[in-house]
């Protein structure tokens, strides 16, 4: 793994420990995390639950600072959240008092954008929410809500998309639809994505490269190049090569549990 600032996104020796509460022991969640992403790559981070994947994502987003190490994005040290590093959260975090339209235009308004209507319309189309503009989030299904969350950040034209198990709480069919949607969007926008998941199949289907993390304290135990070309579709999951890679990754994950 190269060091220095040559990479689009570089995570360099990141450590994180949470203070022990109510007399409990301090909890080390991230141990010397090193990884990188190049422009236009979709990177998967796979690990068992509780391995610190979400914490890592929150550090890259700038929500929480690392104890040691640094996050360098486009040559700059990450210190606080920014619209250029967009986050799609694990549970849908839309603004429940705003309509779909107002949720999507929120960031544009903060930026003082002039062409709000045109942009919002375009991204509503891209994520397939036409005619739902004036619905409130709680009137939509989980999958539709995640589409809003996706449109809300994509409309700001971010340089990095951070996704924290975004489809984990969806039913199987919605999950498939959303995975395909993400692939289609990537095909159109070629955006750099960091995709956190515990679902090995999902990681293989969606990403160029996968980092496998061990159980707490989270460590990167392996990096895997995903050999499939783009455009991809769900039919990929039926191929023997896919099955072989999947079992290989699962084996690594199980070893990481020991």
């Amino acid at each position: 793994m190269k060091n220095g600032t040559g990479h689009y996104l570089l995570i360099d020796g990141v450590n994180k420990t949470f203070p022990g509460q109510n007399g409990r022991e301090r909890l080390k969640v991230l141990d010397e995390i090193n990884l990188y992403a190049d422009e236009g790559e979709i990177i998967g981070i796979v690990g068992p639950s509780g391995c610190g994947k979400s914490t890592l994502l929150n550090i890259i987003a700038g929500f929480v600072p690392p104890d040691r190490g640094r996050v360098v994005f486009c040559g700059k040290h990450v210190q606080k959240p920014s619209p250029e590093r967009a986050v799609v959260f694990q549970t849908v975090v839309l603004f429940p008092w705003l309509t779909v339209w107002d949720n999507i235009s929120y960031g544009l308004k903060r930026r003082g954008e002039k062409n709000i209507a045109r942009l919002v319309k375009r991204y509503i189309q891209i994520v397939g929410l036409d005619s739902f503009e004036y619905y409130y989030p709680d009137q939509l299904s989980g999958g539709m809500q995640q589409r809003v969350a996706l449109a809300r950040v994509l409309v700001l034209n971010p340089r990095l998309l951070l996704m924290d198990e975004p489809f984990a709480s969806l039913d199987a069919l919605s999950r498939l639809t959303m995975q395909q949607l993400l692939l289609d969007i990537w095909q159109k926008l070629r955006i750099t994505v960091l995709f956190v998941t515990h679902d090995v199949e999902e990681a293989l289907l969606l990403t160029h490269r996968i980092y496998i993390m061990s159980r707490r304290p989270g460590r990167i135990i392996r990096e895997i190049q995903v050999p499939f070309g783009f455009p991809r579709s769900f039919s990929l999951t039926g191929t023997p090569c896919f099955a072989q890679l999947k079992s290989e990754i699962l084996n690594t994950l199980i070893l990481g549990l020991k």
Binding site: F63, K80, S82, T91, Y136, L140, G143, M144
Partner: protein
Amino acid sequence: MRLYKESGTKILCWSDIDGRLNPLGLALPALLLIVWHLVTVDGNIPGYLLPRPMEIGKVALDFALGNLQLTPYSGTMLDHSLASISRVFSGFGLAAVIGLPLGFLTGRITAVKRTIDPTIHLFRTIPGIGWLPVAMVWFGVGERTTLFLIALAAFFPIYVNSAQGAASVPPQLIWAGRMLGANKISLFTTIIIPASAPAVVAGLRLGMGLSWAYLVLGELTGVAQGLGAVMMDARMLGHVDMIIVAMVCIAILGRVTDLVLTTMFKLYQPRAGGAVS
């Protein structure tokens, strides 16, 4: 794929959210009126203790229109009501102007909470009515004592609820706002205020309810005009009917001011507002 979530219908007073009449809600008041009529119609209960509903209706109409000259208060409903409403609004307004900012500060800034919250809760344990004697010493009987009592009583629920609402804004909503480019000020106006609005409105409604209660207490100490003054005055003149009419006026005005608050909230947040009854 499921598109809509079922939204539960809550019953709002005598009509539903969509404005349809709720006959069940009307049944109980109707029943009470009938029972009241039946126990008073044969004269077993003397009129000076509990007048008949029809009498009350007549006195109320006369209080409003002044067409029958049944009581010394004939035709003065508007004057007394306006005097009371303006006191409630002044006292409640004062409580809101102080309670909302303090509540938000306590809810969002730990140092402020640590500094003022324990003291405020200490004062909160003193029942509002316990302030009456000292208020009369400080402010004399009547106007200023009434304002003081209303403002004091309404302050606590407004402060406590807005502090609780501001404190329980999910951190992820705030992260989302910052990630989408909100600065400190827009974070407050576009995330923290709307996210805590349901709790804030709950506090305002409680405060408004208490305002009417303490209005009566304050006015009983002696003001020239106001529904509380009418009640006290009518008791001395032996007009039980007038006391009841003044009570009904307060009930209606209290309900109307509550509806004004909930309607304003619904206009501000149509989705969340639907869940408020």
